[in-house]
């Protein structure tokens, strides 16, 4: 299907849905087309190779303050109409929502640049395999590489009877790999961006293979409080989990957030500033959220001071401040989420951060992190794919993986160094941009045998 076919179909579906909703007080329709190709490899060969294409029509209708919703992938006008009728039937049986914030109205989107690369949208399986082959060529004879290269195109048309009408599309290419070697060795690397042309398979493979070679025969290490230098992928885990524990306006208004009662006060080192901005250069994704509200920048931690939370239409209405453009597609019982977090870079290179540690650990990335106590921003998880001992300002040896239990905000209160390079981290499919950090105290509670 061509671009003009896509746009024409979306417009016809919007018209059909809005027409079918004429009995409603308001109708919202979202047409999403997602095409994805994935080349997954293990033991240096392709083992899962996929191409998928789907389009969904999601509608919400409002009737006397009652809200119903329905989603279908029947993209005929009749299918869109049937979805609206199902949503209307559900709305008629639903009690009125006294806090219904209303549908999005007409508003212009801020300039957000081009997030679409046609060659990525059209990427063939051969092109992906060629990049994976470049990666695998860097893997040593005693090593095995596993990973995935994906190319995806998303196009969304959003409209309401209140006058909102947005249309945007974006592409994304992402490559990540784990390279495993003898005697517990394991390295990891990733690259992601709007265009497949920017993905360098050789570079990703070389970085992971080197990290793997550097981690052969990891030494035992004692658990306890350590000074750590966290590489960007590890910092991503902390920042993303603050998104779950602290930055939701809904949890904040309910008193369940790590920021509840703390806005305006110190929560981290003055070196820490975090904001969410989908419009900044380097960010990916669409310029409006799942409720059709334009995304906008929100300062969350400013020089260590808790400075804000993000809102969707419901939480923003309850807080009396309006949406910040962080709503998920409705109906959404989970609340708003910041999907484009940035931790502002500082002044030190990774080597300088390491040079500032007498006794400590360098952590490449974390694994299987879960929230233990959200109000205390307490999380647990494991290190993985490259953990090293630092002595007198130098990386001296690989160590075995450790389990950590830390309060993110308490750990960030002890930050005394921020890296000067911002990396886009995409391993969990997110769009988080962070530098490396040096934290004076990080609590590890156990050590593995690998």
């Amino acid at each position: 299907m061509s671009r003009s076919d896509d746009v024409g179909l979306a417009d016809r579906l919007v018209d059909a849905a809005l027409a079918a909703g004429r009995d409603a007080d308001g109708t919202e329709v979202t047409i999403s087309r997602h095409r994805e190709g994935l080349t997954r490899f293990a033991a240096n060969v392709v083992h899962q190779h996929v191409a998928t294409d789907d389009t969904t029509v999601a509608v919400r209708v409002v009737l006397d303050g009652r809200v119903g919703a329905c989603t279908t992938n029947d993209v005929s006008p009749e299918g869109a109409g049937a979805a609206v009728r199902s949503a209307l039937a559900a709305a008629r049986l639903t009690p009125p929502d006294p806090h219904w914030p209303g549908l999005a109205g007409p508003v212009d989107l801020a300039p957000w640049g081009d997030r679409h690369d046609e060659s990525t949208a059209q990427a063939s399986p051969d092109e992906r395999v060629a990049i994976v082959a470049e990666l695998v060529a860097q893997v040593g004879d005693d090593q095995r590489g596993a990973g995935a290269l994906s190319t995806a195109e998303t196009e969304v048309t959003f409209a309401t009877t209140e006058g909102a009408h947005h249309q945007a599309r974006c592409t994304r290419a992402a490559l990540s790999t784990v390279v495993m070697g003898p005697n517990g060795a394991s390295g990891w690397a990733e690259d992601a961006g709007i265009a497949l042309g920017g993905i360098d398979g050789s570079d990703v493979g070389a970085r992971a293979a080197k990290l793997c070679r550097d981690t052969v025969n990891p030494e035992p290490v004692e658990p306890g409080d350590h000074t750590v230098v966290l590489a960007s992928p590890a910092v991503m885990t902390l920042v993303d989990h603050l998104g779950l524990c602290a930055f939701s306006g809904k949890a904040w208004t309910e008193g369940r957030s790590a920021f509840s009662g703390r806005l305006g006060g110190p929560v981290a080192s003055p070196l820490i500033s975090i904001y969410d901005d989908a419009l900044e250069e380097g960010a990916g994704g669409l310029p409006f959220d799942g409720e059709g509200t334009p995304k906008r920048r929100v300062e969350l931690i400013t020089k260590g001071i808790a400075s804000g939370v993000v809102h969707d239409r419901a939480s923003g209405a309850r807080a009396g401040v309006g949406s910040t453009g962080h709503g998920l597609p409705g109906p959404n019982p989970w609340g708003p989420y910041p999907g484009h977090l940035v931790l502002s870079p500082g002044a030190e290179s990774l080597d300088e951060l390491i040079a500032g540690v007498d006794h400590g650990l360098l952590v490449t990335r974390f694994w299987y992190t879960r929230v233990v106590n959200p109000k205390q921003s307490l999380i647990t998880g494991m290190t993985r794919d490259g953990t090293f001992r630092i002595r007198e300002g130098r990386v001296v040896a690989p160590v075995r993986n450790l389990r950590y239990n830390v309060s993110i905000l308490d750990a960030m209160a002890g930050c005394d160094g921020v890296g000067n390079e911002l990396h886009t981290c995409c391993d969990e499919g997110g769009d988080t941009r962070v530098p490396a950090l040096r934290l004076r105290s990080f609590t590890f509670t156990s050590v593995t045998d690998h």
Binding site: V45, V50, N73, P125, A148, K375, N401
Partner: protein, 488 residues
């Protein structure tokens, strides 16, 4: 309900035939028609009421020694033909990196249909009744002084599938599943405490009809759940140390999930999931030799368990549901296998575990109902008897395990001290930690059949792109010795 065989059988067969005609050595086509409904209520107000439908076809082929998969929502014959050609192209591209010819364990061609028995179709129950139930449950929780947020939800799914393979299988299945739960949150100055029923993270789910929801009695449990949330807010932290630990069935189920269910996935054992989900500490050679736990440990992977969320008639490769012994008297006896992975290690039959989240996802090894078989303890009191000093923990709150499935830490919503064989004061923020094999070696008692039930987990994640799997674990309360517990 229409027959998928009648509506799309010829189209699916055409897709398979095209793939074989173009040189594929194997092909299958899977049409999946899915419907879902979800209703959530917060503090007496409907927060979300949604329905969804999705239909499409996924074609899986082997060509030039590699797998290829392509999927489309468009079931028009022309579209299915081009999707079959795309699957071929995808497979042949993979061969550019070097073929890895799959050796598929054989399966008898099967022509069959299957559906799970239900008493009451959840899609047939009036929406007003479902909403009224959830509203009543949340208002009952909110009536407890100190409860800040009360939430309740119900969900139901219907999956209607047709599988056509180049080996002659044609299988049509209709599976109906549903479940739900309630949760109360109490908020203090520096603490927020949750209490859930019947399980956390959405409740309990099964391959059953609405009779499951009625049996749960969400409203009847709401006041207790609210009261316990408030009680937790004022409870002391769980004391630390190495002690005897008694877990309720739902937490045993998650322990089985993370430290037995995932490690025995043969694709993970063979390194196929290394990049994302990690590997396993197990090797194929461990089967029949490795002592996984104490003689009290008996585990099966049983996709025939009536009503359990991981139950089906045939997996997505057309292999009939079966019961595979996994651990017998503490010794590892089996793994979760697909046709490909079983063939790779020389097995003659797949264990029937392969499933996909949707028509657009590649089928892969998933847990079915990986269950700890009941023991002999007739009651929770019997498990507590003789425990002078210990901790009882109930309902998961957090979970984490390393990438080889060895080092784990779990937290629970609810915990009580055990003193002199009896449950004592309530403690909060309880966690326990350990390593897989020593932990299961410390198992010294399991509740009997009256305490055993299947716990449905509708949120098991695996694969790239990530797929959600519906699995279950039969479990009863169980007792473990010398376990590290405490409050992080």
């Amino acid at each position: 309900m229409r027959s998928l065989e009648t509506a799309f059988g010829a189209t699916a067969q055409r897709g398979v035939d095209i793939a074989i005609g173009l040189g594929a050595t194997y092909a299958d086509a899977r049409v999946l028609d899915m419907a879902g409904e979800r209703c959530s209520v917060r503090d007496g107000e409907v927060e979300g009421m949604s329905q969804s439908t999705s239909i499409g076809i996924g074609l899986r082929v082997i060509a030039d020694g590699c797998w290829g998969f392509a999927a489309t929502r468009d079931l028009d014959a022309t579209s299915v033909e081009s999707t079959a050609r795309l699957a071929l192209q995808v497979a042949r591209s993979g061969a550019l990196l070097g073929p890895a010819p799959p050796r598929l364990a054989p399966v008898d061609p099967t022509i069959a249909s299957w559906s799970n028995p239900i008493v009451e179709d959840p899609f047939g129950v009036a929406l007003e009744e479902k909403i009224a139930l959830l509203v009543a449950a949340t208002l009952t929780m909110r009536a407890v002084a100190g409860v800040a947020v009360a939430e309740a939800s119900l969900a139901a799914w219907r999956r209607h599938s047709l599988l056509v393979t180049s080996e002659g299988s044609r299988i049509e299945q209709r599976i109906v599943q549903c479940g739900g739960g309630i949760e109360a949150t109490a908020v203090g100055e520096s603490e927020a405490q949750n209490r859930s029923y019947p399980n956390s993270f959405g409740g309990d789910y099964g391959t059953e009809g609405f009779e499951l929801i009625r049996r749960l009695d969400l409203v009847g449990n709401a006041e207790r759940v609210g009261r316990e949330a408030v009680m937790l807010l004022h409870a002391p932290p769980c004391p630390g140390g190495v002690t005897t630990l008694v877990l309720d069935g739902s937490q045993v189920a998650l322990q089985v999930h993370e430290s037995i269910g995932h490690p025995i996935e043969l694709d993970r054992v063979l390194g196929m999931e290394a990049a994302y989900a990690g590997t396993s500490f197990l090797t194929p050679g461990d089967v029949g030799k490795l002592r996984y736990g104490s003689p009290h440990l008996h585990v099966v992977a049983d996709s025939t368990t009536p009503g359990a969320l991981g139950t089906f008639g045939f997996d997505d490769e057309g292999v009939a549901a079966t019961c595979t012994p996994i651990v017998s008297e503490g010794v590892l006896t089996g793994m979760l296998t697909s046709r490909e992975s079983a063939g790779e290690i020389g097995m003659t039959r797949s264990g029937a575990t392969v499933r996909a989240q949707s028509w657009a996802h590649l089928p892969m090894i998933r847990m079915t109902n990986v269950s700890l078989l009941p023991g002999s303890a007739g009651s929770l009191d019997e498990l507590l008897d003789g425990v002078d000093d210990g901790i009882y923990m109930e309902t998961n709150r957090s979970w984490s395990i390393d990438d080889r499935r060895v080092d784990f830490q779990f937290g629970t919503e609810w915990a009580q001290e055990i003193k002199g064989g009896r449950l004592g004061r309530v403690v909060r923020n309880a966690t326990y930690a350990g390593r897989t094999l020593p932990f299961w070696a410390s198992l010294d008692a399991v509740g009997g059949p009256d305490l055993w039930r299947a716990w449905g987990l509708p949120n098991c994640g695996k694969g790239q792109p990530p797929q959600v799997g519906y699995v279950a674990h039969g479990a009863a309360p169980a007792r473990f010795r010398n376990v590290q517990v405490g409050t992080p």
